[in-house]
Point group: C2
Chain length 352, copies 2
DNA sequence: CTGAAAGCGCTTACAG
DNA sequence: CTGAAAGCGCTTACAG
């Protein structure tokens, strides 16, 4: 292996000088810099990142964590098509953004003894953590909030001494979705959000209430349903609510996510209901599948690129500020959402 | 940070002894071992993995590489739903299997200057590489074949001085698919495989030929089509072949993958053809989507778990044998495939 | 601007 | 069975 020692010898300087040149210190003469550069090229030298990590007490590695409350799930294993599909889209951007910043992405194999979660990260000298946390009560999330490791959460509204979060403006998104329906003449609007103990579901529900309130419409708690995040549970929940509400006394459904909306559509079709002729449906997220549903889904777009860019850039600022955070550094990042109108919503019809 | 020094002090021994105890050396007295164990627990000690990596010249990290010939793609970004969907399923298992072996999974941000690909891996002291390579001519694949880094390829039939591969028995799979159709009475069978420069497409085509040959049926080169791996291209290719072959002179299609089969189904439906009434269709892979297509897809199952288990276990054996490979260590691993009969295949009908 | 020296936290011959 | 010492490949005060 080529070491800095050999570079130093070839360039006729000491290892210290090679190190300085490499790290862009101004205290290196132009000539020395030049000779070192030549030596590096001719030897094909590249610094040993492990040695650097040890002496700097920090690697150029960002750990990725996904926390659903289920302790045993690994990062990728918990991203299934019908449940956390949105996060899969997100991860693509994560990898690219981290690579662009010249950091490596690490999926650590930390034993489910989350007791030592932080220590395990420290022993790997990770520079920071990107945590996708739907379940803020997870032990590891709580540990991360206490720890000194720079952390950015996505979708867990948690701030700690070295951590902050980025999230879409979920409430405003749900507000837009609902308002869109109200403008189309809908008055009796069902909402189906995740009743999972995370924070996203309730926030989206709040947006729904807000829109009704602004429009001066009554809020009927009876029209507010919950189910799991996945397609199947949303499908089942919709079948149940269709059963309950005979004759049908609503004309639209605001779903908590696109994948849930797909379950909603399936249930409606199965009951012979036409979308949007009989019932309008709005999703949330704007995943790629929305274009391919029958009919294509009106939804609220979360700006993935902005979320990920915001998260990674902030994370790297935190890392490179060496624990000296000013206030702006820990301020949450809220990304605007946007209504995307496709074919699953239309004017209210019928008796309701 | 708690170091081995502190453990040593508390246990009244030297750091050397702590290290031996930790690494299961037999040369430690029972008492010493006990006191050290207590000290470790009471201090909550965990060894510094970076320091270990430096002195051992090897980390407990396995790098993941995906090589499609497109130099710029990152691991996750290139796994899109309609193209390399199968690999996404695979990655879930990869993460779990690697974690089970107590290794970390690394997605390195190596600059696209693949010139230094190997060196970059070395500077990170990765223990080994899992490489999913559809494009064996990729520079990085070639470099990996020359290198000393233990590597297991998936789907690239490449063996090197420190590398081997695991693959499904693709030829036999395609043979089973075709034979299944022949048994149903089909005589004129189209095959649509990827013409991409990888090795998988041609091998599957060979299985198709083999089945025809065994059945004593003529091989009509005209019935052998190619397209990209993704749904859209397979869809387009099918539209084209349907156009060409008027009146229709075939009763079945063997697709190169399930996602391609989905494109085939779409094109057939669009032409008003019924599956399997008019045309039977077989996929390849058995991804989860197969259950949800209309009709559910008959396909060839690749045993993902077996592939990944085989790959990771072999990789770890290679790593832990410290470069002393016996022959069995570099032998390719071939995983049997299996026909899964669903509703997209049926008896041949009509004139052909 | 530069080098000698100490040190990051471990492991491993070597000697006892 | 155990410890003192050297060393993995870097970086960084310190002194000049």
């Amino acid at each position: 292996m080529v070491t800095s020692e050999q570079v130093a010898r070839l360039a006729g300087v000491s290892r210290a000088t090679v190190s300085r040149a490499l790290n862009g210190s101004p205290r290196v003469s132009a000539e020395a810099r030049k000779r070192i550069q030549e030596a590096i090229v001719s030897l094909g030298y590249e610094p040993d990142m492990v040695a650097q990590s040890l002496v700097r007490q920090r690697s150029r590695t960002i750990a990725l964590g996904l926390f659903y409350g289920d302790q045993k799930s690994t990062v990728l294993s918990s991203i299934s098509k019908t449940q956390h599909y949105f996060y899969l889209d997100l991860l693509r951007d994560v990898e690219q953004e981290i690579a662009a910043a010249q950091y490596d992405l690490l999926l650590p194999s930390i034993s489910h003894a989350q007791k030592n979660y932080i220590r395990s990260l420290q022993m790997r000298h990770v520079a920071g953590t990107l945590a996708i946390a739907m379940h803020p009560a997870d032990e590891r999330v709580k540990a991360l909030l206490e720890a000194e490791i720079p952390t950015v959460f996505i979708d867990s509204l948690s701030q700690g001494r070295s951590s902050t979060y980025v999230t879409s403006d979920n409430q405003d998104g749900a507000r837009q979705a609902t308002e869109h329906l109200i403008q189309l003449g809908h008055r009796r609007i069902v909402t189906l959000v995740s009743g999972f103990s995370g924070q996203i579901g309730p926030v989206r529900q709040a947006g729904y209430r807000q829109a009704l309130q602004r429009a001066g419409l009554p809020i009927d708690e009876d029209l507010m349903y919950t189910s799991g995040w996945n397609t199947e549970e949303a499908y089942q929940a919709t079948l149940r609510l269709l059963q309950e509400r005979q004759p049908r006394d609503f004309t639209a459904i605001v779903a908590g996510s696109d994948l849930m909306a797909i379950g909603v559509l399936r249930a409606l079709h199965q009951h012979g209901l036409h979308v949007p002729g009989d019932v309008s449906v709005v999703g949330f997220d704007d995943v790629d599948l929305c274009r391919y549903t029958e009919p294509p889904l009106t939804t609220i777009r979360q700006d993935r690129s902005a979320m990920v860019q915001g998260a990674i850039q902030r994370l790297i600022r935190m890392i490179e500020s060496d624990g000296e955070y000013d206030e702006s550094m820990l301020a949450p990042i809220i990304i605007p959402t946007q209504l995307i109108t496709r074919a699953s919503t239309g004017p209210a019809t019928g008796s309701c």
